[in-house]
């Protein structure tokens, strides 16, 4: 043994070298481990953790609902309801033998589905059917088609359907407002989706949640100034008028003159906002706000304001309208018959062209134009409604004689029905102009109004408007049983190829009620009524009457004209 040892004795250094080499290897591995696990140098611990997270941790959006839109009494007008959108991972689904089954389940065309899957074959996401009812989606998901999953979303429903369609507007499939109130108040209604982080498994399903990183913030509710009952009534009466007159389009709008709130606004044609399949955009327009027409004789009321302000006339001043026609420049203007000597009030009651011409010539077009400006024509009403038009007032360098006069009849300018209603609301509100609004106002904190005419003038003009609906006026059909109402008719020739058309009209009526405490202003516009009843007094005034009857009932106005009602009101109430 010792001999052998002596014969071959390992040198001591070899042992040392091996030990050192092994120790160095171990140290290298340890060092690398520390580098990867503890320190953060370039590709160290932080880098690795990030890379790991990239492959497993996902951030998901937490869907939020859009704010509710309600009417002034809290009745919902637009509601976001949970739905489920079914989607698929085409890579997993495209070769599935159950494709036909799935297509049948979703009522899709199997061939089209196959084409679509082939088209998106290298992608990982494809919508199959959006906005399905949760019950239906659950049934489909329970069948475990490969790669088919559901995503929670919200869909907008409008319980009142076509009745409020044009005012509320629409949202697109992703829940963003694209028209009407939905668009105007998008920032308010839109919720901010939350975010949460979770670890996903191979199939993309969550296995562990890290919690919410951003709290979802649902959209805020919006209370409109609209009164849904009134809106229904107005809508019904307008549709009925459209059927009866065979008109191509029409609008009605009711304002609360004291607060500037829009209580109801309806239009024809209409559309159903809950079914997007047959969406007709001509029906989507809120014509009462977006379409400007020549306002015709309804402007004579404002001419009367200019006349009274000039100091040259009061409502009982006498004007000689004989012989029932008057020449202005090259044009002859006619009254239906020779009214002879009549008061200024009668000129408006009868809507006498000759009388108004004489008034316009006396006060001058500049004074009339000034009144039109002060009554907000040619200017937006302040509702903020998308697409609202401001109409146009003439801006002429040189005024011909006839242009100076036709301005007083409401030709040569354009206005929307809401602008006309606002102009009359200023009269009803004692000459104070308020910005109009689509939102419910707190009656104690109304925005400041602006006194644009003398309250005395406003009162005198209302008195004349009251007479227009009385026997002998042009709008006896505007009367409402039990109430005194006032207003002014308008019948305008439509403009077509080659100028004004002889056989196509726009019928207008703008009215104020009740006259004992003027508050509710309703403007009616009927575009192209057919038949003999085309004028404002015959086509539009009855619609005004029926709508105003509902307005006064729904808003609990006190009758001021029925014998008993008046008597009891005067005596301070009955038992």
């Amino acid at each position: 043994m010792t001999r052998a040892k002596q014969a071959y004795r390992l040198p001591r250094w070899r042992f040392a070298v091996i030990c050192c080499a092994l120790a160095a290897l171990a140290a290298t591995l340890m060092g690398r481990l520390v580098l990867l696990q503890v320190t953060d140098g370039g590709q160290g611990a932080v880098f690795l953790r990030e890379q790991g997270a990239l492959r497993t941790v996902r951030t998901a959006e937490i869907p939020v609902y859009r704010g509710l839109i309600e009417d002034r009494n809290g009745t919902p007008l637009a509601v976001s309801s949970p739905v489920v959108s079914l989607w698929a991972n085409p890579q997993q689904l495209k070769d599935s033998p159950r494709l036909d089954d799935l297509a049948a389940r979703l009522s899709l065309d199997a061939v089209a589905l196959r084409d679509k899957l082939r088209f998106y074959g290298d992608k990982q996401f494809m919508y199959l059917a959006r906005h399905q009812t949760p019950d239906f989606a659950r049934q489909v998901l329970r069948e475990n088609f490969p790669g088919v999953r559901g995503e929670r979303e919200y869909r907008r429903y409008y319980p009142a359907g076509e009745v409020t369609a044009q005012l509320l507007g629409l949202t697109n499939v992703d829940g963003r407002g694209i028209a009407g109130v939905e668009l105007a108040f998008e920032d308010w209604l839109q919720g901010i989706p939350g975010k949460k982080r979770f670890i996903k498994d191979l199939h993309g399903d969550a296995v562990r949640d890290f919690g919410v990183i951003e709290e979802p913030r649902p959209g805020k509710a919006l209370a409109l100034s609209l009164d849904l009952r009134l809106q229904y009534a107005q809508h019904r009466e307008l549709q009925r008028a459209m059927r009866e007159t065979g008109a191509t389009a029409g609008s009605a709008i009711t304002l609360d003159a004291w607060t500037g709130e829009v209580l109801a606004v309806s239009n024809y044609p209409v559309f159903n906002p809950n079914s997007r399949d047959a969406l007709d955009f001509s029906g989507a327009r809120n014509r009462a706000l977006t379409d400007a027409y020549e306002p015709g004789s309804t402007i004579k009321t404002l001419t009367l304001v200019a006349a009274l302000e000039s100091g040259q006339f009061h409502i009982d001043s006498i004007i000689d309208t004989a012989p029932g026609r008057i020449r202005v420049g090259a044009k002859m203007l006619h009254d239906p018959r020779d009214y002879g000597e009549i008061s200024v009030s009668k000129v408006i009651e009868k809507s006498s062209q000759v009388g108004v011409t004489k008034i316009a010539q006396a006060v001058g077009h500049a004074a009339i134009l000034d009144v039109l400006y002060r009554f907000g024509l040619g200017e937006s009403t302040g509702t903020g409604f998308p697409g609202e038009r401001a109409g146009q007032l003439p801006e002429l360098a040189r005024w011909s004689d006839i242009e100076k006069v036709t301005l007083a009849f409401g030709y040569g300018l354009t206005a929307t029905p809401i602008q006309l209603a606002r102009a009359y609301a200023i009269l009803a509100n004692g000459g104070v102009r308020r910005p109009l609004t689509l939102l419910r106002q707190n009656p104690n904190s109304l925005p400041a109004g602006q006194q644009v005419i003398d309250p005395e003038v406003a009162r005198d003009v209302l008195e004349v408007l009251d007479r227009v609906t009385e026997p002998g006026g042009t709008a006896t059909l505007a009367q409402v049983p039990g109430f005194s109402v006032g207003g002014k008719t308008g019948t305008v020739h439509k403009v077509g190829v080659g100028g004004y058309l002889d056989d196509q009209y726009v019928a207008l009526f703008v009215g104020v009620a009740p006259m004992s405490a003027p508050r509710y202003v309703t403007a009616i516009l009927i575009d192209q009524p057919r038949g003999d009843h085309y004028g404002g007094g015959l086509a539009a005034a009855p619609v005004y009457s029926r709508i105003t009857e509902e307005v006064l009932r729904i808003r609990n106005s006190q009758p001021d004209q029925s014998d008993r009602g008046a008597l009891l009101a005067a005596s301070g109430g009955g038992q």
């Binding site: 509601v79 949970p82 319980p159 849904l228 229904y232 029925s562 009602g565 009955g574």
Partner: protein, 93 residues
């Protein structure tokens, strides 16, 4: 080598026991978190379902209570009509 003092022995036993307890506590609290998380997910699902139900009922109520339906039932089924003004009395301002 210097020997550990005899008095450290109970300390070691105590620390080991403490270690064991804390290890079990970690296991227990992890379990609690899992349970809590499962409950949270259940509740979130429930909230979603309740919201779903709420909006469905809201829409349903408003469909049944739509003014035109009320008007129709009142006039056709119940033969009601708005009272004539001559029959009404204002009893207070």
């Amino acid at each position: 080598m210097n020997q550990l003092p005899l008095s450290t022995a109970p300390a070691i036993v105590l620390l080991s026991a403490g270690l064991l307890v804390s290890a079990l506590a970690v296991v227990a609290s992890t379990h609690h978190v899992r349970e809590g998380y499962a409950r949270l997910q259940d509740l979130e699902l429930r909230r979603w379902e309740l919201h779903e139900q709420y909006t469905r009922l809201l829409l349903e109520v408003n469909t049944w209570a739509a003014p035109h339906r009320i008007t129709q039932i009142a006039s056709e089924t119940l033969s009601m009509e708005a009272p004539d003004l001559s029959l009404s009395q204002v009893i207070a301002e």
